[in-house]
Structure formats: C-alpha cells, structure tokens
C-alpha cells in the first residue's frame, strides 16, 4: 500500500503570474500547479525568482499580473494595474499555508515550546492544554523533546530550523513552504533538518521546497522544477530532470552544481 498517495487534485494553481520589483521583472508569466500531498522541489540559480515565487504564492508579496487559486477558488489576483485583490476566504486559506525561512524564524524572546504554542493559542484559539499537547507532540516529531524550555539563542541552527518546522505542524497546515531552510546552516547540521523534512514528506503533507540540496531533491521530491530568470524552464520527475534534462539551460545549471 502506498503510505502517501500523491495523486491528489491541485491545491494551488498559479496562472500567468508576473511580478516586478520596480522595473525589474522577477517572475515572468509563471504557471504552476501544486497537487495535494505532493513534494515539489524548486531549484535554480540565486536571483532566479524561486524564493519570490513562494513568497508571492503565500501572500507575502503583491504581484503585477495573474491569479492564484486555492482548492480551485480564487485566493488572490492582480487587477492589472499592480494592485493585488484578495479573494474571499483569503485569511482562512492563508492559515492553511505555512513557511519556514532561512534564518531569524523563531521569536528570540520566547522559549521553543512558547514559539510553537503561540499560533495555536492566539490564532487558532485552542485552549492552553490543547496547545501544549500539540506542541509536545510536534516537538517530539522533530526530535526536540528535550529542548522545550530552551531559548532560541541557546540551541543550534539545526535545532532552530526543526523547531520552526514544528511550529508550522502545530498550526495544522495543509501546505508548507521551505525557503532555503538549510542554506545558512553549518554543513554538519544540514542533515538533521533534511531528515526532519523527509519524515514530513512521508507523512503526506504537501510541501514546496526551495533548496540547493540536490540529494534531497532527487530522493524526496515527487517533482522538480527548474527556475531561471523568472520563468519555469523545465519540470519533471527527479530522475528525468537530473539524468536527462531536456532543456539546454537546465543541463548547464546542473553541470555547474553537480560534481562529476
């Protein structure tokens, strides 16, 4: 039996998305579909727009043209004049999407467990007991049972990132974006974070991962997307994309970053 069915319908549909910073176009008419339970890894050179793509989909950035659907219903669209119109249910939809950043994600004045409990308590408005139960459960899942009362300043970078993942889990997200979560880590800490993400992927949650970790992309992704200069250049199953890329730009990029 397949423990994680990956054949769900689309959760997120991005259509003709264009995004500019001033006069620079960072995303150029992008179409993208994220299906339920899917693990999508986005790769590409720095400055290619992969982070901006995630940030735009989750609602951190306005955009200049196009629309984004969530469960087939309008989540946000551009009015064509650089303004951004929220669909109805915008806030509720947004709560179903989580994100982990490269750094500065945990709130430094709160302990690990307080960090995890804050959202459930103040946003989902669950009881203190329920929030604590959830926090204990998700911290256990990422292997941080012994760090409940530590402050972020006193744990390692890898532990911080795992705590940040736990915080998203406590919010019952349907989809979690990971924006280069291991890029700022010391090499020996990368593995534990990727391991936690892999366990998450196996649990069936929908994930969109921007990363430079090609091993992770190859082993965990259902689909890999190569982005360059604000466009999706190529996408496919990891095997296909890594072993026999169809587009010359993909080949050139992979040749640069993969040894051998």
């Amino acid at each position: 039996m397949n423990p994680h069915p990956r054949s769900g319908g689309p959760v997120i549909e991005v259509r003709h998305l264009t995004k500019k910073f001033g006069s620079t176009t960072v995303l150029r008419d992008v179409d993208l579909e994220i299906r339920r339970g899917e693990v999508v890894v986005i790769i590409g050179p720095s400055g290619s727009g992969k982070s901006t793509l995630c940030r735009t989909v989750i609602g951190l950035e306005a955009f200049d043209a196009g629309e984004i659907l969530f469960d087939g219903i309008e989540f946000a669209r551009s009015d064509g004049h650089g303004r951004f119109i929220r669909g109805k249910d915008y806030r509720r939809r947004r709560l179903e999407m989580g994100m982990v950043f490269q750094h500065f994600t945990l709130f430094p004045q709160l302990t690990v467990i307080q960090n995890v409990m804050l959202g459930p308590r103040k946003v989902l408005r669950v009881s203190a007991d329920e929030a604590r139960d959830r926090a204990v459960r998700v911290l256990d899942r990422v292997g941080l049972s012994d760090k409940h009362n530590s402050f972020p300043a006193h744990i390692s970078g890898g532990q911080k990132q795992r705590a940040a993942i736990a915080r998203e889990l406590a919010m019952d997200r349907r989809i979690i974006f990971f924006d280069e979560v291991t890029s700022a880590l010391d090499p020996e800490l990368v593995h534990e974070v990727l391991q936690a993400m892999k366990a998450l992927a196996e649990s069936g949650i929908t994930m969109v991962v921007v990363t430079h970790e090609m091993g992770f992309a190859r082993n965990v992704a259902d689909r890999v997307i190569f982005v360059d200069s604000g466009s999706i250049v190529e996408e496919g199953k990891p095997q296909q994309l890594f072993d026999s890329p169809r587009v010359a730009r993909t080949r050139a990029f992979l040749k640069k970053i993969l040894p051998g």
Binding site: I58, L60, R91, R94, L95, M97, G98, M99, F101, Q102, H103, F104, T105, L106, F107, P108, Q109, L118, G119, K122, V123, L124, F151, P152, A153, A164, R167, M171
Partner: protein
Amino acid sequence: MLIFTATTACGPDVTYEWNFRVVNQYWPILIQGIQITLLITVAGVVLGMSWGVIVAAARLTSFLPLQVAITGYIELMRGTPLLVQLVWVYFALPIITGIQLPAIQAAIFTLTMNSGAFYGEAFRSGIQAIPKEQVETADILGLTYIQRMRYVIVPQAFRIVLPVLISNSIGLFKDTSLVSTLGVADLMYQGNLASFDSYRPLEILTTVAALYFAIAFPFTLVTRRLEKYLARHRA
C-alpha cells in the same frame, strides 16, 4: 557629620579655605530641590516616552506629509540647544499664542518635546532593527497587526532599545538643571540660591554635583549590566 577642610593655592597670594560645614544649613532647601528635580525628570521620562511612541509611529508611517513634519520636528529638537528651547517656550510662545504656562509646566512641556524626539528615534531604530523575517513569520502565523506588535515586535524592540532609553533618561535627568533658568526651584536653582546666600559657591556647587552624580550613577551601572545581559541573550 562630614567636615572637609583643605587649602588650595590659586596663584601667589590667594588661598582658599574649603569648608563643607557651611552646606549643612542648606540641606532643607537642597532636598526640596531634589524633589522638584526628580518630579520633573519622572514627568519628562513618562511623557517623553509616551510621546516618543507616537513620534516613532509617525516616522514609520507611509503617509508622506506626516513623515516630513515629524522629521522636521525631530531635527529641530536635535539641532537647537535645550536651553534655547526652554527660554523660547517660556518667553516667546506666550507672545505668539497668548498662552502663558507656569514655569514648571513650561519646563515639563519643553523637556517632553525634546526627549520625545530622542526617545522616538530610539524606538524607531529598535523597530527597524528587527529582522524582516520576524515580522513575516508572525504574519504567516496568522497574528493580527495588534498581536504582531504585542507578541513579536514590541518585546523585541524594547530589549534592543532599553539601554538607549536608560541613557537618554540619565541625560534628561541632568538636563533638568537647565530649568532653573526659568525660575523653577529644582536642585540647581536651590544650589544657586544657597551659593549666593552663603558666599560659598564652591562648597555648595560641589555638593550639588555630588548629589546629581549619586542619583545618576546607579542607573549608569544598571545600563552597563543590562547591555552585557542583552548581548548574551540575543539570538
């Protein structure tokens, strides 16, 4: 009782006989002066910080006219001497507006306006020092604007600016000595009075200086400890 007598040579013919015993009879008015100084300081700190929050909010707004106005005000406060501001509010403002404030209120108002500019800048820099990911994470978590302020931004900004706030407040405490020029009976004013009365300005003013120092120094020590503490606990 402390008696301090020393002889200092000031040139070939002049010797000065220090006599701190003369201070004793002035303790009652010096203590009254300390009370007024502390009252003005506390009023200036509380009102100045409250006003400073508004100043910072106005500077961080995207509404341009407000931003320009508040920046102009801050530069005016920073670019002119406090003494001039005090004299101006007390003597010139009544001529322009017809409102004559009693000296102590004019003093507190001016100190509030002056310190509010400095506190405001401290708050602004504290808020801007918070990494943008913190605000975005709070946003994605689903916290409302008020909740983001309360649980994420204010607690962090406060830690960042606390040492600056204390050192601004110590500065304000010392600056209150200028209000004596408006005839407000603070420590400095009473010290001047005692000096003229006793013909012993050196002993009296030395005592006044020692009193200012004795009140300010513990706060300086607290700031130093706090800075070390915060440096260790920053993520």
